[in-house]
């Protein structure tokens, strides 16, 4: 039963990543990011105690909410971001499919060093790859930084099977909150002339 849930969580995670990659409007990107943290937490709970995983869910939602509020106050929620690289949906769908295939292939290769549950490993590779797609093909601040956030989350999922200490949870939570604050800081305030050092 547990296994079925984790595969369902993986499917939702892939869907969320697809949404993040394909959406152009910022409000949809925020919505997909919000949804992404649910399967992320479910997959994380396979390696970590549920209480620790839930703390990451709350952190993720705080980060997403702060980004949404920042976009709302900066009136950037309705804006659209266009990647400078390939702009076709088909490219991203192909990319996502490739990531899933790499993830499935990696379940054997990674077993030399670590043995995370297969859905977690595939999920982490999908997140890592989606993050790279987002910050690799975007110069606009929001998709670029949200790509970095997604990449960090992907690694957390992978590393959860290596270590499950409360110190690591503390560090990662602090890092995510800092990332959320930094992204919100950029999106909230318009650039004032002479503001930059």
């Amino acid at each position: 039963m547990n296994s079925i849930f984790s595969w369902i969580a993986l499917a939702v995670l892939i869907l969320s990543c697809g949404g993040l990659l394909l959406a152009r409007q910022r409000q949809w990107r925020v919505a997909w990011l919000f949804l992404l943290y649910i399967p992320f937490t479910l997959l994380l709970s396979q390696s970590w105690p549920l209480s620790m995983a839930l703390l990451r869910l709350i952190t993720g939602w705080i980060v997403t909410t702060s980004i949404a509020i920042a976009l709302q106050s900066g009136r950037g929620l309705q804006e659209r971001d266009h990647p400078f690289g390939p702009d076709t949906s088909f490219f991203y769908i192909q990319g996502l499919a490739l990531l899933v295939v790499i993830g499935i292939g990696a379940t054997r290769a990674f077993s030399i060093l670590i043995t995370p549950p297969a859905p977690s490993l595939i999920g982490s590779i999908v997140l890592l790859g989606s993050g790279i797609f987002l910050f690799g093909f975007n110069t606009a601040t929001f998709p670029y930084l949200s790509g970095i956030l997604v990449f960090v989350n992907g690694f957390e999922l992978l590393y959860a099977s290596v270590e499950s200490s409360s110190f690591l949870l503390f560090l990662l939570t602090a890092l995510n909150l800092l990332a959320g604050l930094a992204i919100s800081h950029h999106l909230a305030s318009p650039v004032a002339k002479g503001d930059e050092p």
């Binding site: 030399i112 060093l113 890592l128 910050f135 110069t139 601040t141 670029y144 930084l145 970095i148 990449f151 960090v152 690694f155 992978l158 590393y159 290596v162 270590e163 200490s165 409360s166 110190f167 690591l168 503390f170 560090l171 990662l172 602090a174 890092l175 800092l178 990332a179 930094a182 992204i183 800081h185 950029h186 305030s189 650039v191 004032a192 002479g194 503001d195 930059e196 050092p197």
Partner: protein
């Protein structure tokens, strides 16, 4: 009382406090606090009881938290004296330059994080601290500069590699396994290459130099490569993988100094040239690290002249920037005749980076050149060519700043007295540390 309270948490709190302080309070108390922290580090013995104002005190070198610790060893104490001492110089320069006061709170925060990075045990968590440093940089600029975004992206890509390598590398079960060890070495190599900005991941340095105010740029180009380089040195010291990565550091270090000095020679934007200087210094640092344990000591000893070069370079360039309204070469032509102190200091800082005799970096460049020549004559020659590139940039700077139409005689001294004193002191330090490098060696 623990060392972490004094030199990590207190500076971070000071940094937060200074965000709300006035410009005058900032530079006065900021400079005094940084200097005080450096003097405290010099005077206070760790883990040894001492008497102060009738009280028995003891500063513990280790701070434990959730089963992990922040531990200050002898090397960390040396770095923190240097870090806060040099930071005090940066902070003092703030009151003479406009729109740079925000450097003080951020300087304290970055210093606190850098020391966390060097003292956290187990050492693998340092990669997360480095990533946090990248995110903190985002608060500096709106919109974020491509240089900062690229630095953040490189640290983001590096930290999974470093964390996994450190995690597996500390397990003797994995490292004794011949099949798995190369995998760990590859993880570490890629992680360090991305994190330390090894060639070809160095592009954020010239970008940062071109985009920011030169005082900020020089501060960041001093601090960020320093953090990543010390992190690299520390991570290598803790692994038995040293020999496997020597070639990577040698080749990459040599490429960085050659490409950096070549680019610097043809660069017409002096902010970008500053970025190439950071790239070159990283290259020399990597070459030092490739010499093993001895090289690590050379790297630590060369931190002071390297820092001095950057402070003087940044300060004098900022004075020229304000009066010349830009960093493009054409906007600075002939400015040396109006600002002779700033121009001379800038030229001497560049000469010092090139290892010019009697200046601060000279003894360390000679040692490194000697070691490179011992390894291979070709390497020694390439090392000299890299120095020639920086030397060429210094000569061109001289030519541009003091360019004069024939018959013209319009010499002035537009710097104020305080600027002149600071610049002269900087040059004096540059000469003294070049003439008496043994003082630094004794400190080590």
């Amino acid at each position: 009382m623990t060392a972490a309270y004094l030199w990590i948490f207190l500076p971070i709190l000071l940094g937060i406090f200074f965000f709300t302080a006035s410009r005058r309070t900032m530079y006065r108390w900021g400079t005094l606090s940084a200097l005080g922290l450096a003097i405290l580090a010099w005077l206070v013995p760790l883990d040894t009881p001492f008497h102060f104002a009738g009280l028995n005190l003891k500063v513990s070198s280790s701070f434990d938290f959730l089963g992990r610790s922040l531990s200050f060893d002898k090397q960390a104490v040396y770095i923190l004296i240097l870090l806060y001492g040099i930071t005090a110089m940066w902070f003092y320069g703030v009151h003479l330059l406009q729109k740079t006061e925000v450097l003080i709170p951020w300087g304290f925060l970055f210093n606190g994080l850098l020391l966390t990075l060097l003292t956290v045990r187990p050492f693998l968590y340092a990669a997360i601290v480095l990533e946090a440093l990248g995110f903190l940089l985002l608060f500096l600029l709106r919109p974020p500069s491509p240089g900062i975004l690229r630095f953040l992206a490189h640290q983001t890509l590096a930290f999974p590699f470093l964390l996994l390598a450190a995690s597996f590398g500390s397990e003797p079960r994995i490292m004794s396994d011949a099949a798995r060890a190369p995998f760990v070495i590859a993880l570490l190599g890629v992680g360090l290459a991305l994190s330390a900005g090894l060639f070809p991941f160095h592009s954020w340095m010239p970008l940062l130099g071109a985009e920011l105010h030169p005082y900020f740029a020089s501060f960041l180009l001093w601090l960020l490569p320093l953090s990543t380089l010390l992190f690299t040195g520390n991570i290598l010291e803790r692994f038995s993988l040293y020999t496997s990565l020597i070639s990577l550091f040698q080749i990459s270090g040599l490429l960085m100094i050659l490409i950096g000095s070549g680019e610097m020679l043809v660069e017409r934007h002096w902010g970008r040239a500053l970025g190439y200087a950071a790239m070159i210094e990283t290259g020399y640092g990597l070459l030092s690290l490739s010499l093993g344990q001895n090289g690590h000591s050379i790297l630590l000893a060369s931190l002071f002249p390297r820092s001095l070069n950057f402070v003087l370079w940044g300060f004098s360039l900022s004075i020229l920037y304000h009066r010349g309204h830009g960093l493009e070469q054409r906007t600075l032509e002939g400015l040396g005749r109006r600002l002779p102190f700033a121009a001379t200091s800038l030229i001497l800082a560049i000469f010092s980076t090139a290892g010019f005799p009697l200046l601060a970096s000279f003894p360390w460049r000679v040692i490194l050149w000697n070691e490179s020549s011992t390894y291979s004559l070709l390497w020694g020659l390439l090392f000299l060519i890299s120095l020639a590139g920086i030397f060429g940039h210094a000569l061109r700077t001289f030519n541009v700043l003091f360019a004069m139409e024939s018959g013209a005689n319009d010499w002035k001294q537009e710097e104020n007295l305080e600027e002149k004193i600071l610049l002269s002191l900087g040059v004096l330090f540059l000469v003294i540390s070049g003439l008496f490098p043994q003082i630094l060696m004794r400190l080590l």
